[in-house]
Symmetry: C2
Subunit: 432 residues, 2 copies
């Protein structure tokens, strides 16, 4: 929908049709956990723009219309109209594939699929909420420990049931290094969530989740083990895919097939730190890519400058954020790290909260590679200073003297960002 809107802004005379499989467009999938938690009272609040609003801009939105095949050679798509139970063929000049992603499939023995939920689309969220309301949620098990899974786990704490997170990875939130993930786990345990790491779930049978020798009673199971791009239809049409199975795109978000573009969770991105293609399924990236694709399809010119892997969340009163590469992701970069335990405000301010910042830098060059933050209110948005520094290929040495803001309610006189950079610089210098 971002692409459609931007194409319309650029070119008022374009004919724009949008086919959407579900009954919803332009919503905040990231808001689903807050809907489940009851923080957001009504599903309509998650809708940014209604189909009617798009139609007013002459963007023809067709709900419950599922594109089932692309004929790139003849520039046509085959569309299943679920409302009327018919299939139509629609020609195009330019086609944007924005099919998103779905929960990663995991091999599971399941006797009752009705208790298992993904949380990718608004339909998923609504179905999950209806199920929860119907059964009351005595025992909720979340399989996987990524952002959305953990957010859903916290949401169900408010339902007063027992909530268990089971993950095959060694620590929760594997996009953080384990020392930082451990802090997230501690916050969750403090909130009454049972967390079981290093156990792969193999079956959901007889009202129980089975993981190795462990069993957990479950009247509701949420799969939060990451996503995979919906790229099969594009691949079947001969459109090349790459990392993680996502659709390969150039800087303007063209695929390798003439007239076909891709954007959002189904498409690859360029990682500015590794300088390699990557696949990031996040709303921020999808919105930006949509805008870029729409600009180009409308006849303008824009390029997508890439991603850093920036992400943020709040879990069980702990703020958590990361950008760039973790130590685990540093790969062929030789990296040093510095971990700083400090506070969100001046030590003497009663509202100051603990905060931990981890900085990852390249050996010898001192180039910033990434950062991770956990802490109380006000901690995590500091990740944007790191992200901006990463964007500009700064060294930790230069970062250490940046003119960042200070006042007692907001930071110690040396902000955590500066202390982290300084300590990382010292590690770089010590190691040579």
């Amino acid at each position: 929908m971002s692409a459609a809107s931007q194409a319309r802004r650029v070119n008022p005379s374009l004919q724009i049709e949008v086919f959407e499989k579900t009954e919803w467009v332009s919503y905040s999938a990231c808001g689903i956990p807050y809907l489940v938690a009851g923080d957001v009272g009504d599903v309509d609040q998650l809708i940014a723009r209604t189909p009617a609003e798009f139609r007013e801009r002459h963007i023809d939105v067709r709900l419950r219309h599922e594109v089932v095949a692309i004929d790139a050679e003849n520039r046509k798509v085959e569309v299943r109209d679920h409302g009327r139970g018919r299939t139509i063929t629609v020609p195009y000049d330019e086609l944007l594939v924005a099919t998103g992603a779905r929960p990663r499939e995991i091999e599971l023995e399941v006797d009752d699929p009705s208790i298992i939920h993904g949380v990718q689309t608004l339909d998923d969220g609504i179905r999950l909420l209806e199920h929860a309301r119907r059964i009351g949620c005595k025992d909720v098990v979340v399989v996987g420990a990524g952002y959305i899974g953990l957010e859903i786990a916290e949401a169900f704490v408010k339902w007063r049931g027992k909530v268990t997170v089971v993950t095959g990875s060694a620590e929760v939130m594997p996009s953080l290094d384990p020392d930082m993930g451990r802090r997230v786990r501690d916050a969750m345990i403090g909130h009454g969530i049972e967390v079981v790491c290093g156990q792969r779930v193999t079956a959901v049978e007889g009202g129980r989740v089975h993981a190795g020798r462990h069993e957990f009673p479950a009247d509701l199971v949420v799969i939060g083990a990451g996503v995979q791009p919906n790229s099969e239809m594009a691949a079947a049409a001969g459109i090349p895919t790459g990392i993680n199975g996502a659709i390969d795109v150039d800087h303007q978000l063209r695929t390798a097939v003439p007239g076909v573009w891709a954007a959002g969770d189904c498409a690859t991105s360029f990682h500015r730190v590794t300088r390699q293609p990557t696949h990031v399924a996040l709303g921020t990236v999808a919105n930006k890519q949509g805008r870029i694709a729409g600009e180009n399809i409308g006849g303008g010119y824009a390029t997508f400058p890439g991603v850093l892997g920036t992400a943020i969340t709040r879990l069980c009163e702990l703020e958590v954020a990361r950008t760039g590469l973790s130590m685990a992701e540093a790969g062929s970069f030789e990296a040093v790290e510095a971990v700083v335990e400090t506070s969100t405000g001046a030590g003497y301010m009663p509202e100051s909260r603990d905060m931990v910042v981890k900085v990852v830098a390249e050996r010898r060059t001192g180039r910033l590679l990434g950062a991770q933050i956990t802490g109380g209110d006000g901690a995590a948005k500091r990740i944007d200073a790191f992200a901006t520094a990463l964007w500009n290929d700064m060294t930790v040495h230069e970062m250490a003297m940046m003119d960042l803001s200070y006042a007692p309610p907001f930071s110690p006189v040396w902000d955590a960002v500066l202390i982290g950079a300084r300590k990382a610089a010292a590690r770089v210098d010590a190691r040579g």
Copy 2:
């Protein structure tokens, strides 16, 4: 004290003497308003390190020792020892002038100086607090509307007296543009503070503050009209001063006189946006300059990379921040501005608060020149992303696609920083 500590780290054999006029070293002057407000219960909490801690590191701290003259030619200082009532002469190899700043002198007719207070040193703060406790503060008048003055005004709201701010400038907080300052004023008025702009205070007589045709009863008057560097003694010793009367220094913080260095509120800085000397009297800058000077004096090598004029505060529940140049400061840069009214979190999150971001960019080039923020909890620390972008001379066009963090508790899917940059870029493009 930052310089002394860093010199000691670099060079364990250096002999280091510190002469301090008052009875306090190494304290947070920025914490004084919170001490007055009662948020900080005890003055000792504002002390970062005691003289004893410094002496353990073989830094010889002499309290109530006031340097009264510098003999740069013979590398000696004359020191008044207030404790023993004597004057001594002390030789040096390297001298750091770190005399700080004092409240800007304003021409005032005064019949009772005892009710008038500055809030620059901890002594000032303690005297103010004692006075307030003694008299109870029925009527407090703050003269001037800079950061510290307004923070003190808010602090006295907690004393349940009538608080009035009187300033000669057209709007409060003149380091913001007036449209943003107006939002600060509204927050203060909402807190019960009377704010009188555009009225220069001329006299404090008969228990009343006189400003033009206005009169305000006052049993306590705080001067918060900015500061001026304590540079007269250095100037008298032939050490050149520059902008605002501050001591001119090079990148290593050397003055033009051999063996003499300067750092902190008494010294000039280099402004990274204007590329001109500037004078910024802030704790962050002073700490950094102290560290750099100490490194060099100790025999290491470091340069001070300059300032952006970043500042932040929280006033009457409104967070306020700025960096770089305001429209008013743009000077010979032709500037365009964009103002964005958005929210701290996703619109549907109950904890989201209003936030306003103003972005200033150079015409044609699109170079970011500055930013200003007001808003609820979580708004203001975003200034650090702008500061980091300014540090790197980014254009608003490039900023608009940065990979900044997003989750519903923290921002809309397009963070205010990105929207502000995008709107500013559109203004740049429209204006040509």
